[in-house]
């Protein structure tokens, strides 16, 4: 056991400062969720593998953390499959449970399982960790938090308008300047139809989703590779180069998609959502991006993506509307719209821009030095008074060298130290030291409380 212990790769310990800052992020998002009428639920970390498997594609199935059955797990295993190394099939014989991969599938499962108790529209938020057996790399972890809010059982665009305001409020509170990019899956479908390639909607969106990253030339090349005719690619060019104000771009795309009823419906929805959101006013930049796709197989209407304006980092929040969240669990026809905040990237943005409020670290306001038994007894009495006044206070537990005690207060960035020695004890007073100015004053416990409450 002499070897220094470690944690699994891709996982993290969070120090007091990191934890406090992460809590600041979660608390801020949670407060705004509540302000907007979302209600919290929590689901177990472990789900039945039958709930999770097949929901994230073949790749996703491989990224699920599976939990070994308790007891004699080998009893149910087919030894022939073991011998031939059929890992996937053996895994499903010796594991019944897995760690959740996201919050969406557990939410869908929750809605179906508890449908009788729920009143629709159901507005829930959920802030919990998820696990993925991804190859760890910078900024990608095997355990990370998702912060999701969804409204299900309503197809009103009022929900989209609410969510856009909610996003704006969250990032306003963080002090992060953002652009919110919008698209609509129906516009993407309309584009594919207009190009005469309705069956190639996935190829088209996968390719044009990379526009920002690889540029128009390479997107075009990829489209040809994916089987689009040169004529179709030609017809796509005006769509990809649409510019102007939101209204101008909506007018242009509307005329370009004039022959696609689906496309026109998408434009109408975008028009309604952007007009209402702008009328209410927001701090964020609102932007259209007809190449935005995000989880295409899933979204059916509005698509939302948020980028930080002052830090080059990927999407920090995203979401959209889906029409069949719960169909896979036997409850079809439930439309919903949701967003997910990426806590880790928000953490990185707040760090890069030095936007964490100082209070988020919340050190104790005052440490009482420990100068011996009777002095410590009085210190504890004063500490009790201070805590009753809402001031966080603590005593250095050991009667050790003063230098060590002051160093501890310093290391913990505690702004005040109280010293109660023989003299102070006899006068029922304390010496209050301001750790940033070094100033020391002899005050009564009540005076100290008044000073600290300021």
């Amino acid at each position: 056991m002499a070897q220094k212990p470690s944690i699994p790769k891709g996982t993290r310990d969070f120090s007091p400062l990191e934890t406090a800052r992460r809590n600041y992020i979660f608390d801020t998002i949670r407060d705004v969720f509540r302000l907007y009428g979302f209600r919290p639920i929590e689901t177990p970390a472990m789900e039945n593998l039958s709930t999770l498997m097949g929901k994230y594609g073949d790749e996703g199935d491989k990224l699920l953390f599976k939990i070994l059955n308790s007891g004699d797990f080998l009893a149910k295993a087919d030894h022939e499959l073991i011998a031939t190394g059929e890992t996937a099939r053996v895994a499903s014989q010796i594991c019944e449970k897995g760690l959740r991969y996201d919050l969406t599938v557990p939410f869908a499962r929750y809605v179906v399982q508890h449908r009788a108790e729920l009143q629709f529209p159901f507005k829930r938020f959920q802030i919990q960790p998820v696990w993925r057996a991804d190859r760890p790399q910078k900024g990608r972890y095997r355990e990370f938090y998702q912060c999701d809010a969804d409204i299900v059982g309503s197809d009103s665009l009022a929900n989209e308008i609410e969510l856009l305001q909610l996003i704006d409020e969250v990032f306003t509170r963080f002090g992060i300047r953002i652009a919110i990019k919008l698209n609509n899956r129906k516009v993407l479908a309309g584009i594919a139809e207009t190009l005469g390639a309705a069956d190639k909607i996935i190829d088209i969106t996968v390719a044009i989703d990379k526009l920002d990253k690889i540029g128009i030339e390479q997107v075009n090349a990829e489209l040809i590779e994916r089987g689009l005719t040169p004529e179709a690619v030609e017809r796509l060019q005006p769509i990809l180069s649409i510019s102007g104000s939101i209204d101008e771009r909506l007018d242009t795309i509307e005329s370009l998609l004039a022959d696609s009823p689906t496309g026109l419906l998408g434009v109408k929805e975008l028009r309604e959502v952007t007009a209402a959101t702008l009328a209410l006013g927001l701090n964020a930049e609102l932007d259209l991006d007809f190449s935005l796709a995000r989880g295409l197989n899933y979204y059916t209407g509005t698509i939302i993506e948020v980028k930080a304006l002052d830090v080059a980092i990927g999407s920090i929040t995203g979401g959209g509307r889906y029409d069949n969240l719960t169909g896979v669990f036997g409850m079809p026809g439930i439309s919903g719209v949701g967003i997910s905040f990426g806590a880790d990237r928000i953490y990185d943005v707040l760090t890069a821009l030095e936007l964490f409020p100082e209070e988020s670290a919340r050190p104790t306001t005052i440490m009482f030095a420990n100068l011996g038994t009777p002095e410590a007894a009085m210190a504890m009495k004063v500490i009790k008074q201070m805590r009753q006044a809402g001031i966080s206070a603590e005593i250095y537990p050991d009667n050790t060298k003063m230098k060590k005690q002051m160093g501890w207060a310093d290391d913990h960035k505690i702004p005040y130290v109280a010293i109660i020695g023989e003299t102070e004890l006899s006068q029922n007073k304390l010496t209050l030291k301001n750790m940033s100015t070094g100033e020391q004053t002899l005050v009564s416990p009540e005076e100290a409380i008044d000073i600290l409450k300021k």
Copy 2:
């Protein structure tokens, strides 16, 4: 997929009301932890099995949830062991990681791993779920939260005194009347010595720990069974029947343990901790219980257990001092003391005594009915103003029947509903309905905000 989905046995979904109430518990405990100068850390759900195995006894090892290695997990497995059904050894070949079983071992691992960054004494709190493959039964779950606070790197009894006050503060905030029972492992050692059975300390404490449950006769029988002589059992009787005030009991046990230096040290520690705690004053009943053992192999000094006075339920909080938290990870000599709040049992007590504050459910303050596009647009403007004033508000997303909308507000226990129809729209006013009295008033948005802020 027609079958209704479910969750693994022993795990739970938490509804909005349950989640809000659980958050009330966590937030209250967290606030008090902070008030006392504890700082939060978080550790990953998954630990290396090498960190977890062997720390909880043979039974504990079996209760660990093990995570199947990703990829070709069979490659490392010994097929002979599989053939002979050696589940434990096969498990260790195909699983490198497990879910944490408690917060103590991960904390010990954290302290050793991060020793260079930490300033001792280190005061941390941690509120996270743990997982145990226990047989599920009423009140026992396979996933549950622990709320732990520990001070490590200090053997001062000031820490015990602080923790007792902290416990008192937490339960005072909850409104739960409690008794805090104290013992000291050194007293237990002294009892064993005095009985002439120092080597039987574990047998003795395991037996007398059951005193409350099975009564003195059965405890005595068990002690004989465990190899104690009838004379030793005879000598134990006055110890088990000690009565009187705390001081009287300390005096009696002191005289009974007069020949055991270890026992006397334990009595001295108990005397110091109880005297200082009582001098500071507390709402809880403070009590001594010389039969209290709790995790005997682990604690070395003070032992703490909390029971609710008004509900018959087991221990709702417990803790104690340990001398060698981190020794198993190669860092000996770190003394510490900690406590753990049992969130699930506290939940049950708060429910039984109907002590959850109404606000803990935090419904939205006001729902705006949806009577059509222009009306909804005005509603959203007013909602924005209200949220800016800190009032949680939402719009019913769909323009459906009024009865349905009002029913939804009712189901969600939302105290106010705002109605903006044609008339209100033309006057820039809203009809504010108090859902408990049924009273309706026509007011301006500003007047509504004033009413709701009260």
